[in-house]
C-alpha cells in the first residue's frame, strides 16, 4: 500500500505543479496591470469594471486575450479601473457565481463575463444585484433587465475565410481544425464549409476536432494542432483553417513544414503569431471580442446601458477576414462581393 501511496503522491503533485505553472504565466500579468491602470488616471469618479475570464484567462493567445485587449484599450483610453478574475479548470457552476458575486460585492460595475459557461451564473447573480450591469460574451440565454449579451456571427466571418481557402486551394482539398467539439465551434465549421462550397461545390473538406468536452485543452495544445494539421496536409489538403485558439500555433508550424497554407482565428494572427511561421498565414477570421468589450465599457462610461443581445456580425463589423500579409489581395474583390451579399441578405450563412 505504501508503494501505491508514494506513487500516487508523486503523480498528483506533478499534476498540481504543472497546473500551477500553466496558470502562473497568466496571473503574473494581472497584478502589474491593475496597479499601472489605477495609477495612470486622475481620481475622478472612475468606472470600476470587473471582468471574469473562462478557463485559460489572460494569456491564452485567443478568445480570453482578445477580451483582455479590449479591457486594456478601455483602461488606456477611458481611464477606467479594472479587476480581472479567472476560472479554474473543471470548476462547478457555483464557483463561477461566487466569482461574479465577489466582483459585484467589491463594487465593480459593470461586470463582464467572458464565455458561454457563465450563462447560468450571470442569470442568477444579475437577478440578485439589480443595480449592477452585467455583460456576457457568446451567450444569448442569460436574459434580464441588467444583462447585455455580446454575440458574434462567427459563421459569417468563417464563410469568407472558407471562400478564401477554396479560391486559394490548387488541389481542391482543404481542412478545418476545431479546438474543442462544442456548438460554438460548429458555427465556425458550418460557415467555413458553406463559404468553400459557394466557390466550388465539389471541393473536398477534411475536418477534425482536437478534444472532446470536458477536456478543453484543445484550445491550447499546439502539439495536438500540429499532429492533426500534418495529417490533413499529408492527405492532400493545402489550406487548413485552425479554429482552435492557442492550438493554431501548431497548425502554422505544420503548414510551414509541409509548404502549405493555414488560416488564423479570432485576432489577426499574421501580426501575433511567431514571426517564423507568419508567411503561411493566408488570412485570419477576425472575431472582434476586443471591440465588443471596449464598446460595452465605453457605453458604460457614458451611462448608456442597453440590455439584451448586441450582435456583432459582418454588417456591424464584428467579424471579418484580415488582409495583412497581402496574400489574399488578388481575391479581395471576390471576398468583398461575398461579404456584400451576406450583408444584404442575399446569402444566408448556416449556423450548424
Amino acid at each position: 500500500m505504501r508503494r501505491v501511496t508514494t506513487f500516487a503522491a508523486a503523480l498528483l503533485t506533478g499534476a498540481l505543479a504543472l497546473t500551477a505553472c500553466g496558470g502562473s504565466s497568466t496571473s503574473q500579468t494581472s497584478p502589474a496591470d491593475s496597479s499601472s491602470g489605477s495609477s495612470s488616471a486622475p481620481a475622478k469618479s472612475k468606472l470600476k469594471v470587473g471582468l471574469a475570464y473562462d478557463i485559460g484567462g489572460r494569456g491564452d493567445q485567443s478568445f480570453n486575450d482578445s477580451a483582455a485587449a479590449g479591457l486594456d484599450k478601455a483602461k488606456a483610453d477611458l481611464g477606467i479601473e479594472a479587476k480581472e478574475a479567472e476560472a479554474s479548470a473543471g470548476e462547478a457552476d457555483s464557483a463561477k457565481e461566487e466569482r461574479l458575486r465577489a466582483l459585484a460585492g467589491a463594487g465593480f460595475n459593470p461586470v463582464i463575463a467572458v464565455g458561454f459557461a457563465y450563462s447560468g451564473a450571470v442569470a442568477k447573480v444579475a437577478k440578485e444585484n439589480p443595480d449592477i450591469h452585467f455583460a456576457i460574451i457568446d451567450d444569448a440565454n442569460a436574459a434580464g433587465p441588467n444583462i447585455t449579451n455580446l454575440l458574434f456571427a462567427e459563421n459569417q466571418g468563417s464563410f469568407l475565410v472558407g471562400a478564401a481557402a477554396a479560391l486559394k486551394s490548387t488541389k481542391k482539398n482543404i481542412g478545418f481544425i476545431g479546438g474543442v467539439d462544442v456548438p460554438l465551434i460548429h458555427k465556425f465549421q458550418a460557415g467555413y464549409e458553406a463559404g468553400a462550397k459557394a466557390v466550388d461545390p465539389s471541393i473536398k473538406i477534411q475536418s477534425k476536432y482536437l478534444t472532446q468536452p470536458p477536456d478543453f485543452s484543445g484550445f491550447g495544445a499546439p502539439d495536438k494542432g500540429k499532429t492533426a494539421a500534418a495529417g490533413m496536409y499529408d492527405a492532400g489538403a493545402d489550406v487548413v483553417f485552425a479554429a482552435a485558439g492557442g492550438s493554431g500555433a501548431g497548425v502554422f508550424e505544420a503548414a510551414k513544414t509541409a509548404g502549405t497554407k493555414a488560416i488564423g482565428v479570432d485576432s489577426d494572427q499574421y501580426k501575433t503569431a511567431d514571426p517564423a511561421v507568419r508567411s503561411v498565414i493566408l488570412t485570419s477570421m477576425l472575431k472582434k471580442v476586443d471591440v465588443a468589450v471596449f464598446d460595452f465599457i465605453k457605453s458604460a462610461t457614458e451611462g448608456t446601458y442597453t440590455p439584451g443581445p448586441r450582435i456583432y456580425d459582418l454588417k456591424a463589423n464584428g467579424v471579418d477576414y484580415s488582409t495583412s500579409g497581402g496574400q489574399v489581395d488578388d481575391i479581395k474583390d471576390k471576398l468583398d462581393a461575398f461579404k456584400q451579399k451576406i450583408i444584404s441578405g442575399e446569402i444566408t450563412v448556416p449556423e450548424k
Binding site: 500500500m1 498528483l12 494581472s30 497584478p31 465577489a102 450563462s119 440565454n141
Partner: protein, 371 residues
C-alpha cells in the same frame, strides 16, 4: 503494552499531521514571499471570506463531493489498487443518471432512488472493466483506468449529442433537466446563509460510516486490508484475491458513481458541457491527506474545499489564486513524507524499546532466582 507506550503512539499519531501542516504552511509562505505577495494578508483574506455563512455553506457542499470521491479512491488504496478512474466513473455515472432521470417521470422518492441507483450501477460497471482486465489479463489498473477516463470522455461527448436538448441562444448543450421530483431537497444548515447545504451531505456521512464499519468491523474488510498489505499472506490464509479485486473495484466504482450526485441533484439538475470535471483526481489527493481514514478524509475534504472555494476572493485582491494549488500540492507531499518519517521513527523506537527490554530481562533474572 504499558500506558506510556500508548501515549507515545498517540503523540506520533497527532504529531504527524501537525508537522505536515506546519511544513506545508512554511513552504506556502516562502512561495508567497518569492511571488511578492503579502503572506499575512493572504491568510486573513482567505479566512475572512471563508468564514462567512454563505462561504461555509459552499465549502460544505463542495466538501460533500470531495469526500465521496476520496472514499471511492480510498477503498482501492486499502486494497493496494490505484483507481485513477474515479474521474471517468463519476462522469459516466452522472451523465447516465442525468439522461435517464430527465427522461422519466416518477413520484419523488422513487425518482431520486432511480437516479442514484443508475449512477451507482454505471459507476460500478465502468470500474468493472478495469477489474476484469486485471484479473483475467493481468492489466495494471493504473493504466486501464487512465485509458478508461479518456474513453468515458469521448463516449459521453458522443452520447450527449444524441440526447441533448438545445438551450435557446446558448452555446451550451446538456441533458434534459430533471423534473422537480428529481431534486434532492437542500438543508438550511448554516444560519445567516441564504444558500442551502446539499441534502446529499447526509448520504456522504452515511457512506463514510458504512466505509468505516465495512473495513474495520467485517470479515470482508479484514480480507481486503490483508490483501492490500500482503497478497501472498492473504492467499495463504484462504482469501480469493481475484474475487477481492473484482469486489473492491466494483465498490470503488459504485461510490464513484455518487460523486456527481450532489451537483446533479442539488444544483445543476442536468449534465451539460460545464459539469465539473477532475473531481476524481481531487479525491486521490484527499484520500492521501486523510490517510484513507473515514474521519481523516472528512477534515482533508473540508480543507481542500475551503481552499478551493475561498480562492475566488484572491483574484479580486490581486493575489494569484494558483497559490491555492501550490498549498494543496505541498500538503499532499508533506503529509506523505512526514508520515513515512514518523513511521520509520516509530519502528526504530519500537525496536530500541524491545532490545532494551530484552537486555534488561537477563539482568532481572538473578533477582527472581534469589526470591
Amino acid at each position: 503494552m504499558s500506558p506510556r507506550v500508548d501515549l507515545r503512539r498517540l503523540v506520533l499519531a497527532i504529531g504527524a499531521p501537525v508537522l505536515a501542516i506546519i511544513f506545508a504552511s512554511l513552504v506556502t509562505a516562502l512561495v508567497l514571499v518569492a511571488a511578492g505577495d503579502p503572506v499575512w494578508s493572504t491568510v486573513t483574506t482567505l479566512w475572512d471570506y471563508g468564514s462567512q455563512p454563505r462561504t461555509i455553506a459552499l465549502t460544505l457542499n463542495q466538501g460533500t463531493t470531495y469526500y465521496l470521491s476520496a472514499l471511492a479512491v480510498a477503498i482501492g488504496f486499502r486494497m493496494n489498487l490505484f483507481n485513477i478512474g474515479v474521474d471517468g466513473q463519476y462522469r459516466a455515472a452522472a451523465f447516465a443518471a442525468a439522461a435517464i432521470g430527465g427522461a422519466v417521470s416518477l413520484p419523488k422518492p422513487l425518482h431520486l432512488l432511480l437516479i442514484v441507483a443508475v449512477a451507482v450501477a454505471v459507476g460500478a460497471m465502468w470500474a468493472s472493466i478495469a477489474a476484469v482486465l486485471k484479473v483475467t489479463r493481468g492489466v495494471s489498473e493504473v493504466i486501464s483506468t487512465i485509458m478508461l477516463n479518456a474513453i468515458a470522455t469521448a463516449l459521453i461527448a458522443y452520447l450527449l449529442r444524441k440526447v441533448k436538448v438545445d438551450v435557446a441562444g446558448s452555446n451550451n448543450i446538456g441533458t434534459k433537466p430533471l423534473p422537480e421530483s428529481g431534486h434532492f431537497p437542500g438543508i438550511p444548515l448554516i444560519p445567516g446563509s441564504t444558500l442551502d447545504v446539499y441534502g446529499f451531505l447526509v448520504v456522504a456521512v452515511l457512506a463514510g460510516i458504512a466505509y468505516s464499519v465495512l473495513l474495520g468491523r467485517t470479515r470482508f474488510g479484514f480480507d481486503l486490508r490483508a490483501t492490500g498489505r500482503s497478497q501472498s499472506a492473504a492467499v495463504a490464509s484462504g482469501v480469493d484475491v481475484k474475487r477481492m479485486v473484482i469486489v473492491s473495484m466494483l465498490l470503488s466504482g459504485a461510490i464513484a458513481g455518487l460523486v456527481g450526485m450532489p451537483q446533479l441533484l442539488g444544483s445543476s439538475y442536468s449534465y451539460s458541457l460545464d459539469f465539473p470535471a477532475g473531481l476524481g483526481f481531487t479525491g486521490i489527493a484527499i484520500a492521501l491527506v486523510g490517510r484513507n481514514n473515514a474521519v481523516g478524509m472528512v477534515f482533508a475534504a473540508l480543507l481542500f474545499s475551503f481552499l478551493d472555494v475561498s480562492s475566488v476572493i484572491l483574484d479580486i485582491n490581486d493575489i494569484s489564486k494558483e497559490i491555492v494549488l501550490i498549498m494543496q500540492g505541498t500538503i499532499v507531499l508533506s503529509v506523505v513524507v512526514v508520515y513515512e518519517l514518523v513511521r520509520r521513527y516509530g519502528i526504530a523506537a519500537e525496536q530500541r524499546r524491545v532490545s532494551r527490554e530484552l537486555t534488561r530481562t537477563p539482568a532481572s533474572e538473578p533477582e527472581g532466582a534469589r526470591a
